[in-house]
Every structure is written in C-alpha cells, then in structure tokens.
Symmetry: C2
Subunit: 266 residues, 2 copies
C-alpha cells in the first residue's frame, strides 16, 4: 500500500513537526517532504497534519496512524536488520575501542551487507544502553551485576594496577600489595573515566585499574603501580538477555576467535 519513503517521511515529520528538519534527517529536500506527505494524504483520503507556514501538528487521523504505524514499521526494520546481521556495538574505555574495532572488522568480512555502528559508552551508561536497545552488544568489564544482561564469556584478562597521584609518596614504590588498599582512599565511581583520573592526579584518592590504562591513559600527574596479589581485570561482551539474537551470538563467537587468534589485551 504505502511506499517506504512515504512511511518514513510521515513518521519523521510526525516526530519533528517541521519540514526542514525532517528533510535534513532524511537527506532530501523540504520540497520532497511536502510533496510526499501531500500524496500520502491523498492516498489515505484524510489530512494527517494541520499545517501553516508557521506550525505543523498531527491531526487526529495522523496521530492514530502514527501510533499504529510506528511500532509496525520498527518491527519491519528490525526484521531486516536481523537477517542482514546488522549489529550496533558499544565499548567502554580506550582499549575496548581498539579491540572492538578488530572484532567488528572480522565480523564484517562474514556479513558484507551488515552495518555495524560502533559507539563509545561511559562506564555508567552501558547497562542502560543495552536495556533500552540503544546498542545490541557492548564490551564491558566483568562481572556484570545488572539483572537482565547476559555475558558472553571473558575475552580479555589483564593485571590490576593502582593509579596514584604522581606527587604521592606511593608513586616512588615498585608495587602495592592488594591488602594495603583497605587503608587507602579509593575513589567512588564517577560519570567518566577521565574525570576519575583527574581526581587521582589532584591527589584526592587512588583507583584500581586494568593494565591497559597505563598505556592508553598516560598522564604526567598520574603514576601506575602493580597491585600485587589482586585478581585480574576481565572484559567481555554483554547484551540484553531477552533480546539475544543470532547476530549477537555470531559477534560473540567472532570475538572469541579474535582472542584465540593471538589477539590479547593491550
């Protein structure tokens, strides 16, 4: 019945309520949106938008169509994304980005039609992203303690180190036994990792980190010491348990292949 470009023009205009922004999002001219929507209204036989040159609003019929069409159309697109292997991936931290890129590269070789967008997530965000469907998979530090998320198994294991201020007397030592942590001012989680390192650098506390941080977050104000006796930091993929999918298992398999193929943590 309706053509794809009509559906997308209608739904986007229903979101934006503005022909210019709609055209921009759809990478066409505003003219096209105007004509497409007009044609769609003729076809449906009812006005879908009230519009003056100053305001755009959905009519009752438009609201009804949007409410019914949006979920259905989303499902259509989800179906083709799944069959084409399109997966969106997030990573946490700089090293994760490096590693994810290698995984995605290998995955793309096997799914040439798949689009695999990669985004960076902050430590505090990734759980929400996965649960809300912002991304399908994320490379995150284990263990995952969020209910509803599933883990794909450890991919990277790295030594745990301690980030301390370069000014701190600790910085002169070779290593710190893990038992000493109890006596040190360990920083609480913050929104971004750089933020926490800045706190470390200013001497407000210390922070246990993975070994890769030494290389990816080298700073003059922060020193990194081995945390002797500590458990290693482990990384792996995570996803929304109920939305698990042929695509995510495929991506997880590829990730483990990349690891076995000699790729190791930074």
């Amino acid at each position: 019945m309706l053509e794809r470009h009509e559906i997308e023009a209608f739904l986007t205009l229903g979101d934006e309520l503005h022909f210019g922004r709609t055209a921009e999002r759809l990478h066409v001219s505003t003219t096209r949106i105007s004509q497409t929507v007009a044609k769609l209204e003729r076809r449906v036989g009812a006005a879908l938008f009230h519009r003056t040159s100053r305001r755009v609003a959905l009519t009752e019929a438009g609201r009804q169509l949007r409410d019914e069409l949006r979920p259905a159309w989303d499902q259509v697109n989800a179906a083709v994304r799944r069959v084409s292997g399109t997966v969106s991936v997030a990573f946490v931290g700089a090293a994760g980005g490096q590693f994810v890129l290698r995984i995605v590269e290998r995955y793309r070789e096997r799914h040439p039609a798949a689009e695999v967008p990669v985004r960076e997530a902050q430590l505090g965000e990734f759980a929400t992203w996965l649960l809300d469907g912002v991304v399908d998979v994320a490379l995150v530090p284990y263990p995952i303690e969020v209910p509803g998320l599933a883990a794909g198994g450890v991919l990277i294991s790295e030594a745990r180190m301690l980030a301390v201020s370069a000014q701190d007397p600790l910085a002169a030592r070779q290593a710190v036994p893990v038992a000493e942590l109890a006596d040190l001012p360990v920083l609480p989680p913050a929104a971004t990792f750089q933020e926490m390192l800045t706190c470390v650098g200013s001497g407000r506390g210390v922070l246990p980190v993975g070994a890769h941080v030494r290389r990816y977050y080298a700073r003059p104000d922060v020193a990194y010491l081995p945390l002797t006796g500590a458990d290693p930091v482990e990384w792996g993929l995570a996803w929304h348990a109920e939305r698990a999918d042929a695509r995510v298992v495929a991506l997880n398999r590829v990730a483990h292949e990349v690891v076995r193929g000699g790729a190791s943590a930074a």
Copy 2:
C-alpha cells in the same frame, strides 16, 4: 530500508514458491519478481531462496525473514486500512445485498479513499468469517448468539411469513397463526437458503422466513403466507467484538442513517 514492492515480492514468493504465480498475484511480469528478489538478496547480503528452474524453496535466512516480516508488514497494512476507512462487508441473503450496497454507497461518499469490498456469505458462514477476520462487518439476522460477536442494533424489521409447498393444502389459506407451527414439519437449517427452499417446494416441510423472501425468492413451487402473531424478523450489523474499530462504528452509524433516511426493508 526495504521498498514496498520488495517486501511484497518476497512475502508472496515465500507463499507461492513459484515466480509465475507470484507475478500473477502481484500483477507484474515474472521478470520483475526475479529482478526484485535478486536485488533484495544483494541488499540483505544473503540468499533468501534456493532456486533452480524447477523448484523454489526458502533458505534458512529466508524463512527467518518471512517469519518476522509477515506479521510486521500485516500490521503496517492494517494501520493504513484503518486510517483510510477501508472495511470489508458481508451480507446474508438477497435483500441484505441490496441494503448493504446502499449503506456502502453512502459510506464511500464520506471516505473517498476507502476500499469497501462486499461479499455474500451463507447463513452458516458469517460467524466464522467475522471471527476469522475474513470480513470486518456483516449484515445478518438477529439475534446473534455467537460469543465474541457484537451487534450494531436493529436496522430492518420485517413481518415473519411461512414458506410452504405450492402443492400443500396450506397454500390455499390466507394466513397461518403462529401457534400452528408446533404441528407443522419445520425444516432444520441447511447450508444455503436456496437449498432449504427447494426442500419446501418438494413438500418436505415448511420454513418461517422474512417478508422480503416473497419478493427475492419467488418460486412457482413455493407459496408464502403471513404468520399471524409471530415476532418480526430483525436484521442488523455484526462484527468481531474485540476488533471493533472506528471504521465499523462509522459504517454502523451510516447504516442507521440510511434506515432513518426512509430506507426500509424490502
């Protein structure tokens, strides 16, 4: 992502597993189906059909896509049909057809984009049709005793008459009191109305009918007599209670307007 004609070609070919029949159903050439499906497969990045010049079958990916795409696409079309006012209507009996056509004509005036297919149903069929979604609304004799169906109110009320064989001594009388029915061989329901009238004509029994039957089913072998004292026969619209919809209420309203506007039973 996918174009309408691609989706329809894919889903139809998934049904038919035959390019020729698919092309026929879609009113295009087989060439088009071949090219469209080929393009779709390139776009998705996976073969959707195994095919030789002798056999067509869905691949695993094709099966998956079909299973996910079909319900989503059906929803898209249902949304469009609802907003455009498209309704499918069935009627029972010849007089019902006349009346339904008048209702539909008026309805179409108000919903110029609506397609309103009209079909005839046999007495024994209409409930199944409504429950299965074969049609959205039906004009049927009341009362409706099928659970799950809703009634739109009496539209037509006509005198009840008795169909008897022209050979029967009864045929000579002016009328039959309803009390006498208990002593007469009333025919049980059969698949079609003509079938039952044939039984009446052959003298196997009598049949209470609505007054319009006298005019629409006049036969030399059947005579119609007033059934004095009997309740009238009532007709009205029926629909699937849970799928009730702006369209069916609109159609029901139009039907009542047509009745009030001076249109009466045959």
